[in-house]
């Protein structure tokens, strides 16, 4: 916040605060990417902050999940040790209390891997947003290495632009929800066949005027499900960070309003503990949102498999 605030001097504090908050939750500018890449198929392939964060998340998931599981599968006796213990407990929780009750015992082993992938990926992507590693790097860069904020070609200065929560970007969550959308269709097709899956959208044997209302509603519901998933995850991740930054910004706003640093420091006594408490709440939200996305995907897949009419 300090680093961003010094850049745009001249405008009022309220404008700077608003700019700062948006700057800290949105993706970095495509015009000033971290890594320049050429256009492919008419799309600018340059790496922005959220793309970099997705790569880091993929790397972290590989290190903490895939490698322990591979080494567990290679060993002779099936007694888990170390990291495999933790993964086993989470796997069992997701299989027994999220997937099995919704999808049914017949298809559990088909759909558990997808749900586990969703859970771990979203958990890591959400959780990494709470770790201020880039801000620490920026502070070291600024005050230890003495690189000025205006140095645009400095690599770490480039890293400072944009938010770190990749799941706070609607494009990322939309991509995740598209996977859910197609897996619903695949689940229904595998269980009932392609034609029967689409027939199962509406109940059989009703009077024909009801279908005139029911078919458009069900078709809309088909699209609303992934849309709601998209909005829920991204809005939750963005909203928490905005609340956190707004509380911290109260210091600057009050100091400006009363034209004294003492007012800012006085408000800091209240707003910093509040921000710490909201950070704690945010850690719960991180876990709950990963759980909710997994649960709702399981419910929707289960609805396509176990048709209740």
């Amino acid at each position: 916040m300090i680093l961003g605030g010094e850049k745009s001097s001249g405008s009022s504090v309220m404008d700077q605060v608003g700019e700062n908050i948006i700057h800290h939750v949105s993706n970095s500018d495509i015009m000033h990417p971290i890594v320049h890449l050429p256009h492919m198929f008419g799309v600018d392939m340059s790496v922005t902050k959220h793309v970099l964060m997705l790569w880091i998340v993929a790397l972290l998931v590989s290190i903490t999940i895939i490698i322990p599981i591979r080494s567990y599968l290679k060993q002779k006796n099936f007694i888990p040790s170390g990291m495999a213990n933790a993964i086993e407990s989470i796997t069992q929780f997701i299989r027994d209390s999220i997937v099995a009750p919704n999808v049914g015992s017949k298809w559990v082993n088909t759909w558990t891997p997808l749900m586990l992938t969703f859970f771990f990926f979203i958990l890591f992507a959400n959780g990494i947003g709470m770790i201020p590693i880039f801000d620490v790097l920026g502070v070291i860069n600024r005050f230890v290495l003495n690189v000025p904020y205006e140095a645009d070609h400095n690599f770490i200065n480039g890293l400072l632009h944009g938010g770190v929560t990749a799941t706070g970007n609607f494009n990322v969550t939309a991509a995740l929800a598209m996977i859910t959308f197609f897996s619903i269709i695949i689940a229904g097709t595998k269980a009932h066949g392609f034609i029967n899956h689409w027939k199962n959208l509406v109940p059989h044997g009703l009077a024909w005027p009801i279908y005139i209302i029911l078919i458009p509603i069900e078709l809309m519901g088909l699209l609303v499900k992934p849309f709601a998933l998209t909005m829920r995850l991204a809005a939750n991740m963005t909203g928490g960070h905005i609340a956190l930054l707004a509380l911290l910004s109260l210091m600057a706003i009050f100091a400006e309003m009363f034209h004294s640093a003492a007012a800012g420091i006085g408000v800091a006594l209240i707003s910093v503990p509040m921000a710490a408490a909201i950070s704690g709440l945010e850690i719960i939200v991180v876990i709950v949102q990963a759980y909710v996305f997994t649960l709702l995907t399981a419910v929707f897949v289960g609805m396509a498999i176990n048709v209740h009419h």
């Binding site: 209390s97 709601a228 909005m231 809005a235 909203g239 649960l295 709702l296 419910v299």
Partner: protein
Amino acid sequence: MEATAFMPIGFGLIVIGAGLGIGKFASAAAESIARQPEAADKITGAVNLPLFLLEGVAILAEVFTFLMLIL
């Protein structure tokens, strides 16, 4: 008067609606757990899903209100 002047009222209505809904869920869950403590796990499981769907609706409404403000 501009339409965006009613934005805060819209936000307030969303929060009232979501708050009432979540409050009803919580009170019903607490009451039924008090009556049957042994069924606490099942009750929590049954409450979870509609709770998240309700929260999703509230967030959708807030996103749309926010989009109306900035577009």
